[in-house]
Symmetry: C2
């Protein structure tokens, strides 16, 4: 009895401490930073920077306090088969280990390297000059080879990096997915291109729609989709993102272009999906660090589910086209079908973030193959642009004219995100696998959307995924929700069916 009451008392004290760290974290990340993106007057930046670094320091102090460390040790030594406490401890342990395994001096040098290299990358990209960035990129990959050793040992050093972003992801697993996806995507792209040659469709030119009406459209669509404005909002800001103060206060930041309402709209569908996720996490998990998404990859997957699988479907537009046209009647010059076909037009692009649903993972495959070779020293940064350009030619049939639209396009490596790209496999495949599982349980997504029954879709996801926050990691959550581990089957089926329909052609099947 005595031991148990000590356990309970310690747990209460630990949760109290974690709550405080969460207060700091949510205020810093989701309010102070949100304000910086949205409403802060320009001259506020200098003082704001100081406030932000103070709050980050406070957060660090709480997490390195003897009270905090003592509790972590105690609960590691006193497991009671309580899934929430166990998961809380293992998440804390995991995130601190990644840092602690790196010698302090080296970590400091890494932080300095990244600060510099982001600046140089920006300049190199603007000047289309890879040589400028090359020495920094070389040092970054050297650093991550070392980090992989500290974090390992693993079969392939790249495994250690994959595991940092997505617990349990390995080269073997990714290779298996790539071996199924790559030939399929390349072949399907070839067929679509042939089909396109026959029908010769041109992209639609959108009418101009001002910001106020675009925002009214977002509000209508998000509300109907199930994002709750009593517990969230959408504001205009310099860098589109989503920030959650708590499940009751979720902030979407978005931007728009007057000349093409689709850019802001699909962004807001993506963020809105993530927002529904954040709003649905059980509030009981506050005070445990688990009232958050389990991984970037899964959150991104949910974003892609709402943006692409729902947002680019026939059912979605059957339900929303007239509603949107009633706010922006200029759109009526296109039929719903024309609009639908246009937002699903396949068009190989040099730039990842402009990629359509079908070619997107080819961009990721290229990055995965290249990163892995670089980490294993089978490719040098000198040979990088050629390798990159050749792969674009081989897989997508187009070749960058310069390195800014090639190897310099993403900020990821400059910011130290090495081993991060393969998380996009998880995101996209998870979205398709969940989508298939929902259809099995609730019937056709298209059918549900035509009736505006987003509640049924959201309820399934809440019940199977969202409410658990970070109690389970991504892999486990996918398996619990869909009945099997992540694979590429549903994704391939989805693309096949979708684009056969879009291009009205069985030749694609």
């Amino acid at each position: 009895m005595r031991g148990n009451s000590n356990y309970e008392a310690r747990l209460a004290d630990f949760k109290d401490l974690i709550s405080k760290i969460e207060y700091l974290k949510c205020t810093l990340n989701s309010l102070v930073y949100w304000d910086k993106l949205t409403y802060m007057p320009s001259e506020g930046i200098e003082y704001r920077t100081k406030v932000m670094s103070f709050m980050a320091e406070q957060q660090y102090r709480f997490m390195s306090s003897s009270r905090f460390i003592g509790h972590v040790r105690y609960f590691e030594g006193n497991k009671k088969n309580d899934p929430i406490t166990d998961s809380m401890i293992s998440r804390i342990r995991r995130s601190s280990e990644y840092i602690n395994k790196i010698p302090e001096e080296e970590y400091k040098r890494y932080i300095e390297l990244i600060a510099m290299s982001e600046q140089v990358w920006q300049q190199a990209k603007a000047e289309k000059n890879f040589d400028l960035f090359k020495p920094y990129l070389d040092r970054i990959f050297c650093t991550f080879r070392k980090f992989a050793q500290y974090w390992g040992p693993t079969e392939d050093p790249y495994d250690a990096l994959l595991g940092y972003y997505e617990n349990g992801l390995t080269v073997n697993k990714v290779d298996e997915l790539v071996s199924e996806l790559k030939p399929f995507l390349i072949e399907m792209l070839r067929k679509v291109k042939e089909k396109q040659k026959d029908c010769g469709k041109k992209p639609l030119i959108m009418p101009k729609v001002d910001g106020a009406r675009q925002q009214a459209i977002w509000k209508t669509v998000l509300s109907d989709m199930g994002f709750r404005f009593e517990a969230g909002r959408v504001d205009i800001g310099s860098h589109p993102t989503i920030l959650a103060n708590s499940p009751s206060d979720v902030r979407i930041v978005n931007s728009y272009r007057e000349e093409d309402l689709r850019s802001g709209l699909f962004n807001v569908l993506h963020a809105g999906g993530k927002g529904i996720y954040q709003q649905s996490i059980s509030k009981e998990l506050l005070g445990t660090f688990l009232a958050e998404v389990p991984s970037f990859a899964l959150e991104e997957g949910i974003g892609r589910f709402y943006e692409n699988i729902l947002g680019r479907s026939q059912g979605f537009w059957k339900y929303f086209y007239d509603k949107i046209c009633s706010i922006a009647p200029e759109l009526k010059k296109f039929t719903e079908r024309e609009f639908y076909e246009d937002i699903n037009m396949v068009s190989p692009s040099l730039i990842r973030i402009e990629a359509d649903q079908m070619t997107y993972l080819l961009h990721i495959i290229i990055r995965y193959e290249i990163e892995r070779e670089l980490i294993n020293q089978r490719l040098t940064v000198d040979g990088l642009p050629d390798a990159w350009n050749q792969k674009y030619e081989d897989y997508l049939g187009i070749r960058p004219a310069n390195d800014s639209e090639g190897v310099l396009q993403d900020i990821h490596w400059a910011s130290g995100y090495v081993g991060y790209f393969p998380a996009y496999f998880v995101s996209n495949l998870a979205a398709a696998q969940m989508s298939a599982a929902i259809e099995k349980d609730c019937g056709s997504l298209n059918g549900l959307m035509v009736e505006g029954r987003f509640d049924i879709i959201n309820d399934w996801l809440k019940e199977k995924v969202f409410r658990y926050g970070a109690i389970y990691d991504t892999e486990e959550l996918i398996e619990r929700a869909t009945g099997r581990p992540l694979d590429s089957k549903d994704y391939i089926d989805y693309l096949r069916e979708k684009f056969s329909e879009v291009y009205k052609s069985n030749a694609i099947l």
Copy 2:
């Protein structure tokens, strides 16, 4: 030398600590609270309340840390005739003493009393039922009689309360001001009423102007007046106020009524004046607790200067009337003179916050006389409503029909603001005294405004008042800026001249 370098090192460490407390304070008061007033989704309140109480607790911890207390002791014992450090220490000392002199148990009981009494006051006011509130009010005045003893001894116990809000203000000083103001105001009001009988003007009925255009008007007026939007902003919120993150980030919160644009406009002039003040405080003072206004009264006085002395003047409307009409052409149905006379119409009101410039201080005189009698036990809460109503009849010629438009109208007492009302004498008289000093140095305010030369007015205030933040207290600052201590002369002259002009009558002089 050694002592000196210790002094310097200690000062640097103290300022570092104060900066951190300021980061917490500004984030809590000016960003977390600002967001609560403006953009927070409704369901965010529960979690927000926890975050706010955590941050207040953190602030308290920093200020009660041994590091903080040690520094205060050291600098009290090591004065080097450095005005900033001395002032910093004496402000810290003063604010902590007020709390420390009250026994902890009593202070706790007081906080509980206030929390209850605000609720009861709200209900009593809604139900026009003073009896409900009476026992709470009695306990509040009992408590403040005790506090006055702890804070004293002073000649009159009420002095101790006055001094809490405005360092150095005494009953003797206030009595002197009241003895000059009261007969003048009562007599002048009588003359104006006679004059009004003759001319029989009716108040203008304003056209409806929507929120978007009202906000455009605010932006135009504030910009021209010198509020810098690079370092500030205006948002719509539930409770009009102004909140400064730093001199580079000053946030006005305002509201509006479509059916009368004047309410939002004069609020925003008031807040805008305070905003120009906040933006002009020297940034060098950050990290000393002195980058703030010296007292509520002076800040309020600057607000009243911009709202009333500038904002209700002929010159102001000569400059702005056409500009405002270009945004709201409906206003053109009134001439500039009609509009000007209407916003300056004298009309005795039962409600303080609706009072015009001429009768405003009569409301304050009534509250001052009553508070002082209550504290000195020459009046009981039982006798309060009669005393209140009689004074309204004697001074303003009108009598409340019930206690909600009488003694229950202000939240101040229920919130524990006892001894606070006389600060409004300082505010109003300081505004007039500074105004006269500016005219002496820079020429007629009307003349400057007709030319839109708000920069000259602002520069004088920056130079003489604003930049000093809280280095000097209000009394000293007024004397340094205007060449003499605060008195009622300029205020009386101002009202006499202003209303003779408004009513085009020498009989008022």
